[in-house]
Symmetry: C2
Subunit: 258 residues, 2 copies
DNA sequence: GCAAAAGTGTTTCAAGTACACCCATGG
DNA sequence: CCATGGGTGTACTTGAAACACTTTTGC
């Protein structure tokens, strides 16, 4: 959505194509180089940072909408993407929005009863990606994007800090019950790499020996015969996920701690 | 909503008071006499069983709406009530509904574009109650109610079997991480009572000695000096929940299995 | 040979699981 | 005294946690 015509049509006629009153907010966790980050977009006019989000098409399945919205921004499909909560309690989520702001800030003429300004609940989804593989797209409403460290998320628009906090909490809870890493690591990776990934997501240290025992005992990863050459140090072995065990664990859940 | 005037107004003008496109479905688990049941309503016209549900008022916080809808049916307030998933993927949740059916079945005249017939996502909530304390209310659309054993839920309207299945799954998962029982048991109860409650919810046997050790070690319940007189058998001791520990565990979660 | 990172095993402790007998009560 | 249900303790097994030294590599 880049041209003025497209945007005007979206604002004026969007309610014919999208469901009003419900939006999707995606919390996109990106991992790379031992850092866990979140994708934020800088909104024009509003002059603040917010989550990539969007609306559900009138005949579009919910999860398809979440994937489409994610793909529009990141060009990535087939990701692990999960709904975690509907936000509809905070003061912002109860009141109507203000069309005057919109007119001033975007220079678009809108009616008082435009669909965008009615009360809108938001369904939170989160996804995990390797952010070095992501090329982010901005549009008419957004002028910039940035990956922010999860520990340094700025004040966000609306109630979106709450959304991010809840997503992070859910992710950390989930890591105890489901395998994570398939979308975040290259197809072959080393033990130190996946070890650091888990430490980064959980925000705490994990004993390296116990950690590798755990993953190996669960049968989630298997050692290959190759090693990776990493400069002046001992070459680490490469591993890869055991696809079947991994999928199984995703479905059935794991009962354990790390 | 009982009189014809009220109903007609709801159908015609409901969209002015409620948010269209989103509804709430409550899965109300009721426990009593060693049985875990679910509250279902029999719909007039549609001639099938379904969940008690409703719409969100335009300025009403989401969780308040869920509580209101629950209270309208059960007269119970302040219950443990939790959202667990938004349903928006199944074929029923994608297509529009059919106003012809409605006219035929309820004898109400409605326009093609009436708000009730647009596509509607549903937010699933579940609650836990002692069903002997519940007096259920029906209305214009519902002619009967019944508590159904969770293992004998009939074919439900729309996609609601999926909703019930997911609620039960969530409840069973949750019982491993949160204390349950405060809303389901009298203020004082015996060990066999809470033991059976957990067995019933999980649908499997739990060793009685290990179970009581667990709850006591976690500090969730405390033994009183009284006993309950239960006919021709040894009188069991009464217990009650440790309010502080219980609330703490609700907030923080428990890491354990049973 | 040295700096930097990888790899590897054992012990300890806590928690979960399995298991069976005696006790109390009312009829 | 007997039928029914309540109450209690111990041994075993499993998994989590703590912990340090040797190996490899390129410079």
């Amino acid at each position: 959505m880049n041209s003025l015509e497209e945007v005007t049509d979206f604002v004026k006629n969007g309610h014919k194509h999208y469901l009003p009153h419900i939006s999707i907010d995606n919390v996109i966790f990106g991992y790379h180089d031992q850092q866990l980050k979140i994708l934020l977009l800088k909104w024009k006019g509003l002059n603040g940072w917010g989550l990539p989000g969007g609306f559900i098409k009138r005949r579009e399945p919910l999860s398809e909408a979440a994937h489409r919205i994610l793909e529009e921004r990141t060009s990535l499909s087939n990701l692990f993407l999960q709904q975690f909560e509907v936000f509809g309690d905070s003061p912002y989520r109860v009141k109507e929005r203000n069309p005057k702001d919109f007119r001033d800030k975007f220079g678009l003429e809108v009616d008082e009863d435009n669909w965008l300004f009615e009360r809108t609940l938001s369904i939170g989804f989160f996804a995990l990606v390797d952010y070095s593989k992501v090329s982010v797209t901005t549009d008419f409403f957004t002028e910039d994007y940035q990956w922010w460290d999860v520990n340094e998320v700025p004040d966000l628009l609306f109630d979106q800090n709450e959304v991010v906090d809840k997503a992070l909490l859910t992710l950390r809870l989930q890591i105890y019950h489901q395998p994570i890493g398939y979308n975040l690591l290259p197809s072959t990776f080393t033990l130190p790499e996946i070890h650091t990934l888990y430490e980064t997501i959980l925000g705490k240290e994990l004993d390296q020996r116990n950690f590798s025992k755990k993953l190996t005992n669960l049968g989630l990863i298997k050692k290959l015969d190759e090693r990776r050459n990493i400069g002046p140090h001992r070459a680490p072995y490469l591993y890869q996920f055991e696809k079947e065990t991994y999928e199984e664990a995703l479905k059935e859940g794991i009962v354990h701690t790390y």
